[in-house]
Symmetry: C3
Subunit: 245 residues, 3 copies
């Protein structure tokens, strides 16, 4: 197995984002790309990640390999990659070898770890609401809500998408109209509440794409998807906060 | 009442600066603009602020209103305004509504608070010394003095303005000559000492104007004034430190 | 004695770098320039510094003077120098006077201190290995090693220079070939280990020069040298870490 990236950015940013949600995870490296499906330790959020073979300049995988690693550890190594470094990944017995090539050749190795073998299944979800928006606008909305509360309600109806937060003192309401910046598909009016702490970690996906697809339903999980054609796909699923009053 | 700013900067920066000195304050909104006069909790410094109707693109005030708010709270909301956001303020029963408009419409509301009704009067002061200087040079002088001591003496005489600080170890003396950078008007030689901690907060007024007017007298309050024609005026009055030895 | 620098940068950066290793030190100011030789408090590292008379626009020294000062203190004052300030140093009885001249004239004085009179001698060292490299590449290598361990082994042989670090989990190896970026002179294969904590402080010398000369030997001190012709020379000597297993 030998994989080379001319632009380390997609792998570097992705691992950085995922490592904020998940400490240790299993990567499946196959002819289809590098894939990861993982739950956060609190079982509230799932991340689904895929880096496509077309993102690589060299993609040589004979047989699929499942490797478990410490993501914080992997991230620290990837951080050392400059924008013009050629990055190569290889498996070397029970180690993952990461090589950065520019004027010098820098080789890091990190140990593979044992990870309890529970296969993470991506739940099948269907959504009455899909908003495909500028990720800058969605980020701004989450950051607006954050100064007011620790949870935010997403509300959609045909032609309109809103975020609403209510704190002990202040309130915030962000209204986004159907436009080029935000294409709103909603068959009915739905409203659901989610944790801002988790959303803040997930909107880091905007480092991968300037568009985000937001999908949700009443008292139902939310899905955020960031993707770049032929390169990378990152989805997050977040459990709702259901008011018990 | 409905006030709209095309450039949120003046309000945003002003509230940010004032909130470092004062936690809660009363704003008077009238045909003359938005005005604030407040003392810091330690009764050492006063801030006098006025944002003129000409700073607004829409200024609709039928009858004057006194509203008391938490400034840190207000600041947090104003921080969310980007440079190209259209900012509108409205009164809505016992709430202040702040709306930011760009691709999305973001509406924040913060509660009005009760504030003990002591009218702050601006003291009448007269000064034998007035220095109208580049605020960059004055900032630099205060920052110079800070590395040496926690108080600084201001000294003026015809044609000359100095700042002097003496620490346990080091001393600093900043000499500024009468020039285009600093027009010095002094009828006699005067010297007075002030707290650097307070001055550091006050020189943030340089975010509003690249000129500052410095006025003081022997063992007498200091007044710093930052203003931009037709937009904003911010003055600070600071009690002197009188040596008791 | 009166010394003036049109570019305060060399003195400012040098004192900043040295003050991370040494708290108090003696400067010798003579016709040959300003010189400093000092050990760090733990006696692990030595710094040898020389600022040449040609770095100054005015260099008036009648008789040599040894002055001891607190470097953190001196650094704090030099930090106040902007890139276009004219910096003048004078001795004034038992004070060092530092003057910064631009639109204003800012004069700082700091006390000379008593320092135990042990003359620091620069040890005579001879090295079988000399690598003259881009300081950016060497910095990067030390920063790579840092994420893995707290010590790094330097290995050289004819045509090849490597840095190797081994942590509890990860390993890093940086291979640098003989090239324009790194001219390697090695008569034999040698390997020695050094503290990364100290190296991190020393590679700050790259603020003075974009080239570094690296010299070492088996279980023997390392010397790093940064210099700019006619301006400044800064060398560091670092004791090796000898494994006792």
């Amino acid at each position: 197995m030998r994989l080379t990236l001319a632009e380390p950015r997609y792998l570097k940013e992705s691992v950085s984002i995922i490592s904020e949600l998940v400490n240790e995870a299993k990567l499946r490296i196959s002819k289809d790309g590098i894939e990861l499906v993982a739950m956060d330790p609190a079982n509230v959020a799932m991340v689904i990640f895929k880096l496509l073979p077309t993102a690589f300049t060299e993609y040589d995988v004979e047989k699929p390999a499942d490797i478990a690693i410490n993501l914080a550890n992997f991230r620290q190594i990837l951080r050392r990659a400059g924008p013009s470094d050629m990055l190569t990944i290889e498996l070397d017995s029970n180690k993952l070898k990461v090589q950065l090539k520019s004027a010098s050749t820098r080789t890091f190795s990190l140990p593979l770890i044992e990870l309890e073998d529970k296969e993470q299944k991506v739940p099948e979800l269907s959504f009455p609401v899909t908003v495909e928006a500028s990720s800058a606008i969605f980020n701004e909305a989450i950051n607006d809500a954050e100064i007011v509360s620790e949870s935010v309600s997403l509300v959609a109806e045909p032609g309109k998408f809103s975020l609403q937060a209510e704190g002990d003192l202040n309130t915030a309401a962000i209204d986004i109209k159907d436009s080029a910046d935000a294409k709103i598909t909603a068959t009915e009016k739905v409203k659901a509440k989610y944790s801002i702490e988790y959303l803040k970690k997930m909107i880091e996906g905007s480092r991968l794409s300037d568009r985000v697809v937001v999908q949700f339903n009443k008292d139902y999980p939310l899905r955020l998807t960031y993707s770049t054609v032929d390169k990378v796909l990152m989805s997050f699923i977040l459990a709702p906060r259901v008011d018990t009053d």
